[in-house]
Amino acid sequence: MANVTIYSTPVCVYCKMAKELFAKNNVQYNEFNVASDLKAREEMVGKSHQLGVPVIDIDGTIIVGFDQKRIEAALGLK
């Protein structure tokens, strides 16, 4: 099972879409709300070198934004 983490903010549409994709494929994930969790925000910036959400970490592969194709590829789906 892949180790999946998503860094998100509460009203971020693309974060929601990513989480829906995970749910649809029964992928378990950890989520950090970088609006309120400063440590997670620093971690996110450290991993992605940028400030936008979502940032998705799949076994160390860092994907910025809801890039469906890259996410599915990293998860080994389709």
């Binding site: 509460p10 009203v11 974060c15 929601k16 609006a35 400030l51 936008g52």
Partner: protein, 305 residues
């Protein structure tokens, strides 16, 4: 060969798709996503029938309504990249490498965000230059930011930022803001907001991330600089009409010029509705109406032939 290919999955495209399906036209709708430009809005308050709805929820409703129809085919993960005229219709090519044949085309492809087009903007995209305020406003907690623009999108971005940023500059290009007076009032005397008029951004400055924005005072010509952690760009839209520009009449902004009675473009066989057309007002409710008009006009055309 399809009777009609509908390009776009916003409110306009979906409305056309639903009507096309119910008229039992052989229809295909191509989009990369549903919901259109309002997808990222935290709260839409003027979608008729609903006091407030998030762009995300509206997108879901639209998609479900479309998918509940019988007979319409949907490609939901691709973008139209080119259209060519041929005998009896058109070939529609997609970025994903597919080609479809159709008699008629209904363009409901909307618009995309305009960029500032200044040095540093691309370099700091994601590193302080922001295009989605609902997504990223929370990341600027306690920071100083600027929102560039004077229309409703810009005003709403300021509102998105109020719970988070400590200071927000609203940088308006001209003397006046075009956004709704209701929203303007909320911001005019707000302690966190400073409105600057006659500002022309020149360069985004920073190191690893944005540290400032250089701009020109349009009245005095003076170059000034603001120390900032973020720049939110909300300056308007460019119609997605590139793929027909060689044979469909466009106005000087790139909108498809249409007969507003029928939504027909200058090219027989192509209709356009919503923000991609030269409609006077870019509104979801209007896009829906105009797209339905186009779909019914196409249906009339099919019946006669």
């Amino acid at each position: 060969m399809y009777d009609v290919i509908i390009i776009g999955g916003g409110p306009g495209g979906v409305a056309a798709g639903i009507y096309a399906a119910r008229k039992k036209m052989k229809a295909l709708l191509i989009t990369d996503s549903f919901g259109g430009q309002s997808l990222t809005s935290a709260g839409i308050e003027n979608w008729i029938g609903t006091k407030s709805i998030s762009g995300y929820d509206l997108a879901k409703m639209l998609e479900e309504h479309l998918r509940a129809q019988q007979g319409i085919e949907i490609v939901d993960n691709d973008l139209v990249s080119g259209v060519t005229k041929k005998d009896g219709g058109f070939d529609v090519a997609t970025k994903g490498g597919k080609t479809f044949e159709t008699k008629y085309i209904l363009m409901a492809s909307g618009s995309r965000r305009k960029k500032l087009g200044i040095p540093g903007e691309a370099e700091f995209d994601g590193k302080g230059v922001v295009y989605c305020s609902t997504c990223d406003a929370p990341i600027f907690g306690g920071k100083t930011v600027a929102v560039v623009g004077g229309g409703n999108s810009a005003l709403e971005s300021v509102i998105d930022l109020l719970p988070y940023a400590s200071k927000i500059y609203l940088m308006v290009r001209s003397e006046i803001m075009r956004g709704d007076p209701v929203t303007q009032e909320k911001l005019k005397n707000h302690p966190q907001v400073e409105i600057l008029f006659n500002t022309m951004p020149q360069e985004v400055i920073g190191k690893d991330f944005v540290t400032g924005l250089r701009y020109k005072d349009a009245k005095t010509g003076e170059q000034k600089e603001l120390a900032l952690d973020g720049v939110f760009v909300e300056i308007g839209l460019i119609p997605n009409s590139d793929f027909v520009k060689d044979f469909v009449a466009l106005n000087e902004f790139g909108h498809v010029v249409v007969d507003h009675k029928t939504q027909q473009s200058s090219c027989p066989g192509i209709w356009a509705a919503g923000d991609v057309s030269d409609v006077l007002y870019d509104q979801n409710n209007i896009s829906v109406g105009d797209s339905i008009k186009a779909a019914l006009n196409i249906y009339d055309k099919i019946k006669k032939s």
